[in-house]
């Protein structure tokens, strides 16, 4: 549990300039772990592939997703449940994660991150001669 800790307060400085002055919301995530890696799945509905950015600064990982807002200002809302805003959420990375090997895929509005563990922390069995 200590490996990945979400950092709820996000410094404005770490944001990409484009969405700096726009409202943002934290995407919902699932975090799982198996022997070799950690996995983060984040919901980013409405975000195109070229509008997603992952930023690693020292030990913090930020997921940034820019939403294309409706240019159609002529429409008026009848029901509005979704909060408008871009997506932003940061996590602290533990020492056991190999930052060079992080992989990410975006599919169907879902961002899947694979954070492999370093070889030194993977469980291994030692053979007895």
């Amino acid at each position: 549990m200590n490996e990945i800790k979400s950092k709820e307060t996000v410094e404005k400085k770490s944001l990409i300039d484009e969405i700096q002055n726009q409202p943002y919301k934290a995407p919902l995530v699932n975090i799982t772990e198996d022997e070799n890696s950690f996995f983060i799945i984040a919901d980013l509905p409405g975000v195109r592939k070229d509008n997603v950015e992952l930023k690693i600064e020292e030990n913090s990982l930020s997921i940034i997703g820019k939403v294309d807002f409706d240019k159609n200002a002529k429409s008026k809302f009848i029901l509005r449940e979704k909060r408008t805003g871009n997506y932003l959420r940061s996590f602290k990375l533990g020492d056991s994660i190999d930052q060079e090997k992080i992989e990410a895929t975006l599919e169907n509005g879902q961002l899947l991150l694979m954070l492999p563990k370093k070889e030194s922390v993977k469980p291994r069995s030692i053979e007895i001669n």
Partner: protein, 154 residues
């Protein structure tokens, strides 16, 4: 004018009735409850996707957030002024020995229904699915579109 005996409890009953009505309407409008009369099919669902409904001169537009849902797993149906959207978000493959740290995203069956005004072109309802968002466009019938009428002043 007639005199009515004061009954403080009556006010209480009225309040209770109004209160119940409010929640029944609320649930129905947001797809939480089906009409009492069509109890033939009980819908079981685990979550409701967030929706926005927009209106312009020509169309109604319903936008739902369905990240990670397969296009094949979404079913949209329309009958008698009511549009129903249902489907399922499948849980990611559960691998043996996997440990969960955080589960914030809901999965399982979902269902939403919305009552539409009667003046829509029900055969021209269109939907597309992109980046985990479902967009349903419901064109208004000619009758419902706003018109400008020039009135001559003599």
């Amino acid at each position: 004018m007639t005199l009515v005996k004061c009954n403080p409890r009556r006010e209480l009953f009225n309040f209770d009735r109004e209160f119940n009505r409010f929640f029944r309407d609320f649930n129905r409008n947001f797809g939480m409850l089906r009409n009492e009369d069509d109890s033939s099919e009980v819908v079981e669902f685990n979550w409701s996707p967030l929706s926005d409904i927009l209106e312009n001169d020509d169309n109604f537009q319903i936008k739902l957030d369905l990240p990670g849902v397969d296009k094949k797993d979404v079913k949209i149906s329309y009958s008698e002024g009511k549009i129903e959207i249902r489907g399922e978000r499948k849980n990611e493959s559960k691998v043996e020995g996997e440990k969960y740290h955080r589960v914030e995203r809901s999965h399982g069956k979902f269902f939403r229904s919305f009552n539409l005004p009667s003046e829509v072109k029900e055969d021209k309802i269109k939907a597309d699915f992109k980046n985990g968002q479902l967009n349903v466009v419901i064109p208004k019938s000619e009758k419902a579109k706003p018109r400008m009428i020039d009135v001559k002043v003599n």
